[in-house]
């Protein structure tokens, strides 16, 4: 597949082009504004925020709020900063994303290439996971976590997110593998590859784009989840989102807005990073028209 060409682009006059760019830039600025304000205020001393204009550029540049948000801010009862909770989130997100993506890929593989009686009904039932609101499953989930002895632990949270994400990842991979030529599977069978070898050697290497989609989706959802984190985590397994809430919502002492802004950016950084790094591959994957004849 050659690089995308501009041959098919619609040719417009200089003026129209300038107008298009102007509108695009305006919109981009509009969307960037909140983030810009957050960044600006996270590098100001608190006095500048409380005493004056939130929109102004900082007169004294300081990274103190970032350091404080990261390692010394009062969260709950301990002055630990967000750091331990950041690692809690990582310890929850990475296994949950990996497990749900791998299981989703396996499900998609089985549902399209190793079909069995009742597979469409099973798939339809799995899709319910995409439509059930979080709140409905809170109590049954709490009961199950309790019975399994996983209540208030990171593995418990991983389980919750894997179960909840499976509907989506299965849907993605099933749709992707649906158009994957079945003759390839048959050729591999004749060549002597078994169930897992076909998956590992033939299917997975061709699944790049959909893996990226699944990872982006799962990562953002799990990282940003607050409800499950607040409901099922203990003090030592609370994810970043819950800690950020505790930081910002604390009702005692002075509201350190600059620290709050820094903390909020810290909490948003990983998802931002995932989009910036993987988003390119995501778009490229969608454009490339992966397998052809």
């Amino acid at each position: 597949m050659s690089a995308a060409s501009t041959e098919n682009a619609i040719h417009t006059g200089r003026f129209a082009r300038a107008l298009i760019y102007l509108v695009l830039i305006l919109f981009a600025l509009f969307y960037l504004l909140p983030f810009g304000i957050m960044v600006l205020n996270s590098v100001k001393p608190l006095a500048e925020i409380t005493g004056g204009n939130m929109m102004a550029l900082p007169q004294v540049l300081t990274f103190e709020p970032w350091a404080k948000a990261w390692s010394t801010a009062q969260i709950g009862v301990d002055p630990t900063g967000l750091k331990p909770y950041f690692w809690n989130s990582i310890k929850m997100v990475v296994p949950a994303v990996v497990i749900s993506t791998v299981l989703g890929a396996l499900n998609g593989y089985v549902l399209t290439k190793w079909r069995f009686r009742g597979d469409t009904i099973l798939f339809g039932m799995m899709l319910f996971a995409c439509f059930i609101p979080f709140q409905i499953v809170l109590i049954p989930m709490a009961r199950i976590l309790g019975l399994a002895g996983l209540a208030g632990s990171t593995p418990g949270l991983v389980l919750v997110h894997v179960v909840y994400g499976l509907g989506f990842t299965t849907l993605y991979f099933k749709n992707y593998y649906q158009v994957f030529p079945t003759e390839l599977i048959r050729a591999a069978q004749i060549d002597g590859a078994g169930f897992f070898r076909i998956f590992w050697r033939i299917l997975l290497p061709s699944s790049g784009p959909i893996i990226v989609v699944s990872v982006i989706w799962q990562f953002t959802n799990i990282w940003n989840d607050f409800l499950f984190g607040a409901s099922f985590a203990d003090l030592d397994s609370q994810p970043m989102t819950v800690a950020l809430n505790n930081l910002v919502q604390s009702s005692t002492g002075v509201k350190e807005y600059n620290v709050h802004f820094a903390g909020a950016i810290l909490a948003a950084l990983p998802t931002l990073l995932v989009y910036i790094v993987a988003g390119r591959y995501f778009v490229r994957g969608l454009m490339a028209g992966s397998v052809k004849g």
Binding site: P181, L184, R186, I190, D191, K292
Partner: protein, 371 residues
């Protein structure tokens, strides 16, 4: 003991039987072509031989071993698919050796086998490329290389040429035939293209709606089709079918019909069989291939029984090497194959020469050839 034995094999999906009691014996080194229109069950039968579809009843054995329930990889077969089915993530070399790797062949041996095959198919310069970077013809070669490298007992081809353009298809057809003559392997080949079937095969099984209509050499199939389906399916342009009345008098047995000039035409049956004689006074269908109806100068010199009929030309189709001339007989279109430089214009009345040696009679009810 035949090499590949298909014994009373049937295939059903639920209550629907799609393949009915198929019996075929293939000897070692034979090139069997399964041909028929789409939906006739030919690909299903091939997949049953490959082990990709279950056999509902009956047995399929290779070298005397029943293959029912044996995994495809353990049947010692190789298959070339219509879409080539090359693994898109692997290089040509990896594609070719993947099967050997899965069968636990050591690396050095795999390398040797691959070199031999890529040399034979002239794909050595392509070994490092990915399938996406190959042309249709190159992919076809790689797919054959992947099959050849395993040195299987039976090669299975599933419409391997239908994704190629017309010229390449003819080239690859010749190449497959050469390969078969050189290696002497047993091949089962599925196609819907009757030309491919006639040119490649040592034997043809013509299939329709789950039944084998006729099994025989290309010549048998072409010259003595068992029924109307085989007669019209094989050959291009297809066989002319004339509705005629069988008339008997002291000089012999005749097929009586009307030309495009509305004149009564009597075509004499040479050496009619007793079976045919019993149709006297009834109407039957007579099949004559276009090349058996010519201009008088273009008639087969060795033909014993030529009949000259004047009729009106409706359409001419110059095809370069020949000119196809259409008239009507008994109200139905009748296609004649004349020499390229025959001076024939639409609307003219010209002499058509029927080579009655090649005429075949069919019962209009049962559609079976009258022997």
């Amino acid at each position: 003991m035949s090499f590949l034995k298909i014994d009373n094999a049937t295939k059903s999906y639920g209550a629907l039987e799609v393949l009915h009691n198929v019996d075929i014996n293939v000897e070692e080194g034979e090139f069997l072509v399964l041909v028929g229109p789409s939906g006739c069950g030919k690909s299903t039968l091939l997949n049953m031989i490959a082990g990709l579809e279950d056999i509902t009843s009956g047995t399929i054995s290779i070298k005397g071993t029943p293959m029912n329930g044996v995994h495809p990889s353990k049947r010692n077969i190789a298959m070339v698919f219509q879409s080539y089915a090359l693994y898109p993530n692997m290089s040509v070399a990896q594609n070719i050796t993947f099967g050997l790797e899965m069968h636990g062949i050591p690396k050095a041996e795999r390398q040797r086998a691959m070199e031999k095959v890529s040399d034979m198919l002239q794909i050595t310069p392509l070994l490092k490329r990915k399938p996406g970077q190959l042309s249709g013809g190159q992919r076809q070669r790689v797919a054959m290389g992947r099959a050849l490298v395993r040195e299987p007992d039976v090669f299975l081809f599933d419409e391997p040429l239908s994704n190629l353009d017309a010229k390449l298809r003819v080239d690859m057809r010749t190449e497959i035939k050469k390969l078969h003559q050189k290696l002497g392997t047993t091949i089962v080949y599925v196609t819907h293209d009757q030309i491919e079937a006639l040119t490649l095969s040592t034997r043809i099984a013509v299939m329709n709606s789950g039944f084998i209509q006729q099994l025989g050499t290309p010549k048998e199939i072409y010259d003595t089709p068992a029924n109307l389906f085989v007669a019209t399916f094989m050959g291009s342009p297809s066989m002319n079918l004339l509705n005629v009345n069988v008339v008997s008098d002291e000089t012999g047995l005749y097929a009586e019909t009307k030309s495009a000039l509305d004149e009564v035409v009597r075509l004499k049956f040479p050496d009619p069989s007793e079976a045919l004689k019993s149709y006297a006074g009834k109407s039957i269908k007579v099949g004559i291939r276009p090349e058996a109806i010519t201009d008088p100068e273009g008639a087969d010199r060795n033909a014993q029984h030529l009949e000259h009929v004047t009729s009106r030309v409706i359409v001419t189709e110059p095809a370069g090497s020949d000119t196809f001339v259409m008239t009507t007989m008994g109200g139905r279109d009748c296609n004649a194959r004349m020499r390229a430089d025959a001076q024939v214009q639409p609307g003219q009345d010209v002499v058509f020469t029927f080579n009655m040696d090649k005429a075949i009679s069919f019962d209009p009810e049962t559609e079976i050839r009258i022997a």
